[in-house]
Symmetry: C2
Subunit: 209 residues, 2 copies
């Protein structure tokens, strides 16, 4: 039976009454809270349920196992980030590639640094096999959007937008990770942001005309 593995991560029951929707939401929120406060290693389903104000049994009514719970939590966060990126990629079309890059950087930094704690804790669970897959998936979507965005740039580009997108995104994520490693001061953050813009623009200058 080839479908077993896939089934094992699907929600066990779909909420039909509104109260259960609230329950699911509380559980996901609690998962993130527990993750941030005690860390991935000490996160247990019982603890999450307790934090959510429900019993373990309830938790297992909506999530078939612990992995699925963590996955759902990660996916929720990723959806948030990717939505913001895809959004800006749509609205910044047909502009100078420098403006586009600036918009992308600002969006990315804002959405990731908005809740530093959450993002940092979620990196921890992303290393699980399936977390890797989700992260890669999101990475691909971001890459596609960005490529599409750069394709509409008013400038004529000297190399493929795919490659440019890869480089710019790598640079942004590299910097973001660094910023998430330890709570940056406001001063450091703005200095790095400026340099990131600087670097990206300097690079893009070599890619136009």
């Amino acid at each position: 039976m080839p479908a077993t593995a896939a089934i094992a991560f699907q929600p066990r029951k779909t909420p039909v009454q509104s109260r259960s929707e609230a329950t699911v939401d509380a559980i996901l929120q609690a998962t993130l809270q527990v993750l941030v406060s005690v860390g991935k290693e000490k996160l247990t389903t019982t603890l999450v349920a307790h934090r959510a104000g429900v019993s373990v049994g309830t938790l297992y009514q909506y999530f078939p196992n612990k992995s699925a719970l963590l996955q759902a939590t990660l996916r929720r966060h990723m959806d948030h980030v990717i939505a913001a990126v895809e959004d800006i990629c749509k609205s910044a079309r047909n502009r100078s590639i420098f403006d586009q890059a600036t918009a992308l950087i600002d969006t990315y930094l804002e959405v990731k640094l908005n809740d530093v704690n959450n993002s940092a804790s979620l990196y921890a669970i992303a290393s699980d096999v399936d977390g890797m897959r989700i992260a890669r998936n999101v990475g691909n979507r971001a890459h596609r959007s960005t490529t599409a965005l750069f394709s509409t740039a008013t400038e004529r580009l000297t190399c493929e937008p795919e490659l440019i997108a890869t480089m710019v995104l790598c640079c942004i994520t590299g910097v973001t990770r660094r910023l998430l490693e330890d709570k940056p001061t406001q001063k450091f953050l703005s200095a790095v942001r400026e340099q990131l813009l600087n670097m990206t623009h300097a690079y893009l200058r070599t890619c136009v005309r």
Copy 2:
């Protein structure tokens, strides 16, 4: 007893006969192999011992617990990387900052991509609390070396070498991570390497004179 926590991760016994050195080495190597083949989640001490050709008891004679084992494995890899970086940072002094950056990039890419599988698997365990600390520690050392390196550049710099080092390293690690995510083709790798040099140099041009 404030020392307890620290003691808990120190090796339990120091090898004095040469055979035990070989054993420790085999165990560390086996840990990496198991990590790569079955992943962090399914790695058990028994499995590692078996792969190393020893019994669990032997493993526990040199590592007080599973965490210490993973830490030691991670540290070993990190030491390898940081040694290469510090090495190149020493030998590339008093040269053009562009050459310095090129040397740094080539070293970093080579040492990381040399064994893609190992590096990628190790990222997975680095998310454990202490792995984070080790990674940060190595990051700091790399940052110090790089700062020192750039300080000796023949060009006059327009902003602090610390900041330049931060940016260049972020960029390099961002790209490296991307390359480790999925086995890159030779073509893609060389294209990205070229762009990374391109981007870094473009950035550095804005930092000189």
